[in-house]
Amino acid sequence: MKILRNERFINILIPIVAAILGLLVGGIIMLIGGYDPVFGYQSLFDGMVGDPKALGETVRAMTPLILAGIAVAFAFKTGLFNIGVEGQLLVGWFAAVFVGYKFDLPAVIHIPLSLLAAAAAGALWGFVPGFLKARFRVNEVIVTIMMNYIALYTTSFLIKTYIYGGNEKSYNIKESASLASPFFASITDNSRMHYGIFVALLAAIVMWFLLSKTSKGYELKAVGYNQHASQYAGMSVKGNIILSMVISGAFAGLAGSMEGLGTFQYMNSLSSFTGTGFDGIAVALLGANSAIGIVLASFLFGGLKTAAPEMNFMANVPSELVGIIIALIIFFVASSYVVRWFLTRLGKEGK
């Protein structure tokens, strides 16, 4: 029991230590680059949570990240590596905008319907690699990578053909489908923070509950750990692989809808990836694939990303520094083996 508590404590400690180390090294890089780290970090902090607007934008940025992270983590937990979140996100984004624009419905129906469409589209995109893996044992990593490109070109084609509003983007969605929040806007002086955050948090809870509280979750994880034993125990290995990818894809699709119904109200016809899907991988890993961890990681990650321009504006530090810091933090978390070993040793000596 002691060890358990100790263990939990360490698990919380590690990311914090890592974050501090990451920022430290980032500061050193600033110095070497000839920038003022103190001012740099101050403006970075301001840009993250310095004022209501910054905070709002941070929340806005973390919303899709949470969902993307959850999508990655869910697949991970069930032994699958879903690099396809990016593509699933794109089709979800399109589906949400399409439904949001094409239909005229009361908000109570329109919003859920658009979200549903996004989830469904993402799920479909996740189904393909899931099915191919289950049925033909095709490596999901390749298929998801390929599906990303297919999504990229397909969505921009669909936008151009069905909902093109000029200037390389779709028409805006109807008011009734929008997650934009006048209320949040008013309290965060016009940040784009929107109601999607609730969707994201809910999704996080769903993932946690599904995996750790339900018998389905027990199955999904078992299949992830040991397919033979799962089969021996009468579980459907194929079914669970597919299901896992479908659920993962659905989360990713929702991430897309956050952009479509929340941040932008439309979809650009993109010719290159948004990167959110890949950020999702980082967030998931940073959050140790746990729901709460992912939310926190998204906050840090999203915050840093939104704050980067502020840092650039005030202290002239290139925004890329943020990317470096994030990478460093991930490294330190990943290499926690040592930290962990060290801390446990301390714990032991302590008793």
Partner: protein
């Protein structure tokens, strides 16, 4: 254009755009054969492209045509050192290999542009004045059909890539080093009991992947992009990763897969100007390469068999 001309265009373009993938995929083979997952290929490639361009820009006036080659050389070196981060994290510090790879990508993207801004005071470099040019292979290009198809207006780097694939195959399947590398990726404990230094082998594997990916990136930069910005390498690393898996972690398989990509790619681009194919909706042509890959995997290629110990850090006496 005669059918032959069209075909020549396609094969030439294929060889042209496949080269960077081949190099990088070969790098992936080394790393993953030693049991270390390398999602970081993208980042390593990016870092190689960065080094390649910066070097070329710096030396093109003094060295002229030799500059890009020096660039490729230094890129190999730089990315190899960069890969060391991945090695230390995953092998020594037992970090999750996927995590570390992802972090590597972020680091490369951030660092390279950060440095570019620091060096040149802007986010993307000028164009290099001397490139790795497309050439006609002296004698061979004169051979009737074959010459046009395979030996005209293709950068020499493409041939190096192909030759290298065979070399790597020989190394991995015919030499003690190769045997040991594979044993470490299949069953590290067994290798250990046979007195093979698992850690050392894996370090070598990862660093070689850096070396090759670096070359891949530099080749892309000096023969295709001809300048560097944050978006110069956008997904090629992941395509190389896919090619490696597609090729079943086998050097020649990876070569085949990369060429397949290149072919499908150039077909979909050139296709828009070829009678009949022209008729196919543009979007279908665009997604064709990726669809074809999936189909190929599902259909005749069958299931890829990863090295047994891939992704698991080696700890003595762990069962």
């Amino acid at each position: 254009m005669s059918f032959l001309d069209i075909l020549a265009l396609i094969t030439q373009a294929a060889l042209y755009s496949a080269a960077p993938l081949i190099f990088t995929a070969l790098g992936g083979v080394f790393s993953e054969r030693s049991g270390v997952v390398n999602i970081g290929l993208e980042g390593l490639m990016l870092f190689g492209a960065f080094t390649g361009i910066v070097t070329t820009l710096t030396f093109q006036d003094s060295l002229g045509a030799a500059a890009p080659w020096l660039g490729i050389g230094l890129a190999a070196l730089a990315s190899m050192i960069f890969a060391l981060i991945h090695a230390v994290a995953t092998i020594t510090l037992k970090a999750d290999q996927t995590v570390s790879g992802v972090a590597l990508n972020f680091l490369a993207a951030g660092l390279s542009v950060f440095l570019i801004k620091n060096i040149y005071g802007k986010g993307q470099t000028d164009f290099i004045q001397v490139r790795i040019d497309k050439i006609d292979v002296p004698v061979l290009s004169k051979i009737p059909v074959i010459g046009d198809l395979f030996f005209k207006s293709v950068p020499v780097t493409s041939y190096i890539a192909i030759a290298l694939a065979f070399l790597v195959w020989y190394i991995i399947y015919k030499t003690p080093f190769g045997l040991r590398l594979r044993s470490v990726g299949e069953h590290p404990m067994a290798a250990d009991t046979m007195g093979i230094n698992v850690t050392a082998m894996r370090y070598v594997g990862v660093m070689l992947s850096g070396l090759f990916a670096g070359i891949g990136g530099a080749v892309y930069a000096t023969s295709i992009a001809t300048n560097f910005s944050g978006t110069t390498i956008a997904g090629q690393g992941f395509l190389a990763l896919a090619a490696m898996i597609f090729g079943k972690w086998h050097p020649l398989g990876a070569l085949g897969a990369a060429l397949f990509f290149g072919l499908a790619q150039s077909l979909s681009i050139t296709g828009e100007q070829i009678p009949y194919i022209q008729e196919i909706p543009n979007v279908l042509l665009k997604i064709a390469p990726y669809l074809l890959t999936i189909l190929a995997l599902t259909g005749f290629v069958g299931r890829a068999d990863a090295p047994k110990a891939l992704g698991t850090p080696y700890e003595k006496g762990k069962r």
